[in-house]
Amino acid sequence: MTISTAPVPGVAGVPKGKRPAEGNRFWSWVFFLMGVLYFLLPLAGTFYWSLRAEKGRLGFEAYRRLFADANFLPSFSESIINAVVAIFISLLIIVPTAYWVRLRMPKLRPVVEFITLLPFVIPAVVLVFGIIRLYSQPPLLLTATYDSSRVLLVCVYAALSFPYMFRSVDNGLRAIDVRSLTEAAQSLGANWATILREVIFPNLRVAVLSGALLTFAIVIGEFTIALFMAQHTLGPYMQELTRSKVYEPSAMAIVAFAMTWAAMGLIYRVSRGQQTQIGAGH
């Protein structure tokens, strides 16, 4: 058999082969732009509507009225605090659990995963009625006052965050060699608390951050549970506003959107800052 030097059809077709790749890029741009429009058009529409509070001209009158409303900022800050505390509780429960499951009880992982998924399975209305029934009588009377209800609400939010938090943290744990790192730290004299604080947590920062951002976004806008627990958070406030005002709800949506993103950006910046600090040596 001789080896032919004539161009093989497939090889000769190489320049043609570029075209499908370019075609792919064209279509990926099309889909990207469709996605962008899908997300941005409603936002742009809402923003445009929010500027029309004054007849005949565009302006920020709706925003002025919104910020002048005595209930807006308190409910907004209450929601932010709720979210931060819920994230904190969720982390304290999920990180050690996911860590222990991965280290010592890998067979239990599907069970734990299923339990963390329950908030997805149970509708919010069912959940809140169950909670109210359980906690509105002794010995677990928590719905008696506004503050104790708030504590309950934050705990429920922490539970709502489990599906996101567990998945993020578990993926983060998968990316590091949990067993060897734990054993290395143990042989150097570290106890469990030190290992979690100094070795596991710092290496899960990105995972924890993504779980925290999702939790934050959910808690800020949460409506059903807060309403039934008679809490003055952003969700019920927004609902109230929609019923009584025309332009303010749109302004409110834009502000909430911007502030949520600002908060996320802040968390992101803080964590990035830590990383560069570590990168610099200390």
């Binding site: 060699d177 150097l188 004299g189 100094e198 570590i278």
Partner: protein, 352 residues
Amino acid sequence: MPYLELHNLSKTFGGPGAVVDFDLAVERGEFVSFLGPSGCGKTTTLRMIAGFELPTAGTVTLDGKDLTTKPPNQRNVGMVFQSYALFPNMSVARNVGFGLKVRGRPKDEIDARVGEMLELIKMAHLAKRYPYQLSGGQQQRVALARALAIQPQVLLLDEPLSALDAKIRVELRAEIRRIQRELGITTVYVTHDQEEALSISDRVVVMNAGRMEQVGQPFEIYNFPRTEFVAGFVGTLNQLRVTVVEAAAGRLAFADQTIAAGGPVDAANGATVLAMLRPEELHFRTAAGENQLTGKVESVTFLGALVRVQLSVGPARITLDALNERRLNLPKVGEMQTVSFPPHAVWVMPTT
């Protein structure tokens, strides 16, 4: 009195014993290797010394104190892992200082000790780097420094070189031995690589299926293996099924040819035994008083420093290793060749 003592140590994970009746006394400053194929129980034994596994039976004693049930963080034992296990979020210096920080030592002391350790592994200039910025060999040196920084009573190494390139492996092997000698630290080293175990250790423990096969100095393990497993696992070996002709005189028959062993053979006349012979004891020169076997050359493999020739002699294949020389006349495949070896190179084991 031995420094580290493992007494009747056993471990079962439900099935057959992972480690069975492991008995070993290690002297202070000694370097002992556990050598065996994967699944032989060497790592499990090491992990019982470290405290990561609880023995099913037996005891671990260090400097007269019983450690058997002590948690790993209270043992003062340094451990180096195959996967390095450096903390990715900490710089080299913080990794090395971690154990001292956990012990609550003052910062000055930690800094001084970290500096000293980094000098020891010749990496002081890389103190601020992060693990991901280091090569595998550098990472393992940092892991070694980290394990030594706490001044452990025993240093345990679990296949520390297995993930590295051949060249780095040989370099780091020498480095580990140098540091071990310099500090005089009692060391237990786990490996499946016989060359590594033989070159680095004071004593080697060969393990198979959870049991100790033989304990001895590298020279002894290689040249005087006591079991068929050790003989076969350590080094290359010719195993010939021979018939004992005259046990008292050490005369054996093999494929119509006669072999003389170095001394009397512990078997009955007419019995079938295994005659063992290292390939490097065979040569193409003929010398008076030596055994000679003639066979057909089946293959010639040039390995650089060595040339490996395989011959078929009767039903068996025998392997000969010759040192390379520029003037060497390589035998040709298919031709008949006679090989010689001295009687003292032959030892006999019962067949199984």
